[in-house]
């Protein structure tokens, strides 16, 4: 479904993505992990062109998406994106957040978009908050609305950029639960996360990144029990025993 082919990206002198080659199959759930600054967020942001790339190609359903002249808005409406900071529109109600894109971009009739949005809000357990303002919701609720909003265009692919990193610990579970539901429905997911529990239990594959490179790709069981690359071994040791670092 997504194919990276020799992708490179620079921020000025800084080489953010180095020779990325990777394929994500339809229906696959891929978790990208690694230390901060390793390029994981940059990687998934290139998939819906929130970030440009300097060389290589990325294809989505066979279409080269970084080619000039690509219908960017159509592409993006087929890729759901969930941000770390939720980014709900504070001047719109929860329901309006979910109907904006279907009506404005998808050309849906308002009544149709309304029903669809209510069904999605129900799915994330927030139908009763449809007429609330985002500022009245907890972080976990806001993120669940953000997921519903991204689903409203019925994208075949969902990208999550550290969806639980900005949440209080007690709210992480409700968001992961919603994501798990998407996995059960057979959706394709690429998730940048530090939630190793989610990676272990839900992901089909784990990518480990450091310094702009994908250093390891493995099934969760293999990755967590027998990491091959020394950087991956170090990373897993660090997150398991954060106080035992030499030092």
């Amino acid at each position: 479904m997504i194919q990276f082919n020799q992708v490179n990206k620079w921020y000025g002198q800084y080489h953010a993505l180095v020779d990325i080659d990777e394929t994500v199959a339809k229906g696959e759930v891929v978790v990208v992990c690694g230390p901060s600054g390793s390029g994981k967020s940059t990687l998934i942001r290139t998939i819906n062109r929130l970030e440009a790339i300097e060389s290589g190609t990325i294809t989505f359903d066979g279409e080269d998406i970084h080619r000039p002249g690509v219908d960017l808005n159509r592409l993006r409406s087929r890729i759901g994106f969930v941000f770390q900071q939720f980014n709900l529109f504070p001047h719109l109600t929860v329901l309006q957040n979910c109907t904006l894109a279907p009506v404005e971009v998808g050309g849906a009739r308002p009544a149709q978009a309304h029903d669809k949005a209510m069904a999605l809000l129900d799915r994330v357990g927030l139908a009763h908050k449809a007429n609330a303002w985002p500022s009245e919701l907890s972080g976990g609720q806001q993120q669940r609305v953000a997921i519903a909003r991204a689903l409203a265009m019925e994208p075949p692919l969902m990208l999550f950029d550290e969806p639980t990193s900005a949440l209080d610990p007690e709210m992480v579970g409700e968001v992961l639960l919603v994501m798990q539901g998407l996995v059960r429905d057979g959706m394709t997911l690429v998730v940048v996360t530090h939630e190793m529990g989610f990676a272990r239990d839900v992901a089909h594959r784990v990518l480990f990144m450091d310094q702009g490179r994908i250093l390891e790709r493995a099934e969760p069981h293999a990755f967590f029990n027998h990491p091959q690359h020394p950087r991956a071994q170090q990373f897993l040791a660090d997150i398991r025993t954060p106080f035992a670092r030499p030092g």
């Binding site: 929130l50 808005n73 993006r76 980014n87 504070p90 971009v105 303002w133 991204a150």
Partner: protein, 245 residues
């Protein structure tokens, strides 16, 4: 003072109208209202151009903005009044002169307010809108500008208020707005300058204060809708109005 008001109130409110041009308070209000109405679309375009990612759009507009901000409004009035006729070939009347000067000036200043408003909306809002598939125009119109407008409100009111007061510069070129009429009245009555100018000041105050109150009501209504209130600067007229209330 009562005598003064009784004799001159019609003259103060509308000038010599309908025998002469519309003047007095009516001219002041009309001038300010027209100036703001015409300046708003210009300010919006200026603000959008100033925040454009296209340098060919952004740069020239930035230069214009800096140039116009760098000269006093009074000079602008002189340029339009004395120089513009040599280009167009016929005399610009006083009302049009002031209107043009105020529209150009307010256009630039409103443009700066719009720019600050747009830049004050978190970057994630634009990204989220684009990530949903909204184009640049739709993202601006449906997501960024409605939020920017809310934070701009205090600055907008500031600009509106200063426009009302700036209409008094029309006095210099003989536009018969409220200050000009008040001076006429003063030279006819001669013995009550304090009363005349006190009434004139009161008139300006009522207009400006009224506008500030309207803005405050709008802000309160937003707050009731659960939206974040715009940050108030201590010197903004809405803050002053709130403190006075």
């Amino acid at each position: 003072m009562i005598e003064l008001i009784r004799t001159y109130w019609v003259y103060f409110l509308i000038g010599q109208y309908p025998q002469g041009p519309l003047g007095g308070v009516a001219a002041t209000v009309l001038l300010a209202a027209l100036a703001l109405l015409l300046a708003m679309p210009i300010g919006l375009l200026m603000g959008l151009a100033r925040t454009s990612s296209i340098a060919a759009v952004r740069r020239p507009v930035t230069v214009i903005a800096y140039l116009i901000r760098g000269i006093p409004l009074l000079l602008m009035v002189f340029w339009i009044y004395f120089y513009l006729p040599t280009v167009t070939g016929h005399k610009t009347d006083q009302f049009s002169t002031m209107l043009i000067a105020l529209v150009v000036f307010d256009g630039v200043y409103l443009g700066e307010i719009v720019r600050a408003g747009i830049q004050g909306v978190p970057k994630g809002q634009y990204e989220a809108a684009r990530a949903l598939g909204l184009g640049h125009g739709r993202a601006m119109r449906r997501v960024i500008l409605p939020q920017a407008l809310r934070s701009m409100l205090p600055s907008l009111v500031n600009q509106f208020v200063s426009t009302i007061k700036a209409t008094s510069l029309g006095y210099i070129i003989g536009l018969t707005e409220a200050s000009f009429i008040a001076t006429q009245i003063n030279s006819q009555v001669f013995v009550h300058p304090t009363a005349v100018y006190l009434l004139l000041s009161l008139m300006y105050f009522i207009l400006c204060f009224g506008l500030s109150r309207v803005a405050l009501v709008i802000e309160r209504r937003q707050a009731r809708r659960g939206l974040p209130r715009p940050a108030r600067s201590p010197g903004s007229p809405t803050a002053t109005a709130a403190a006075n209330a």
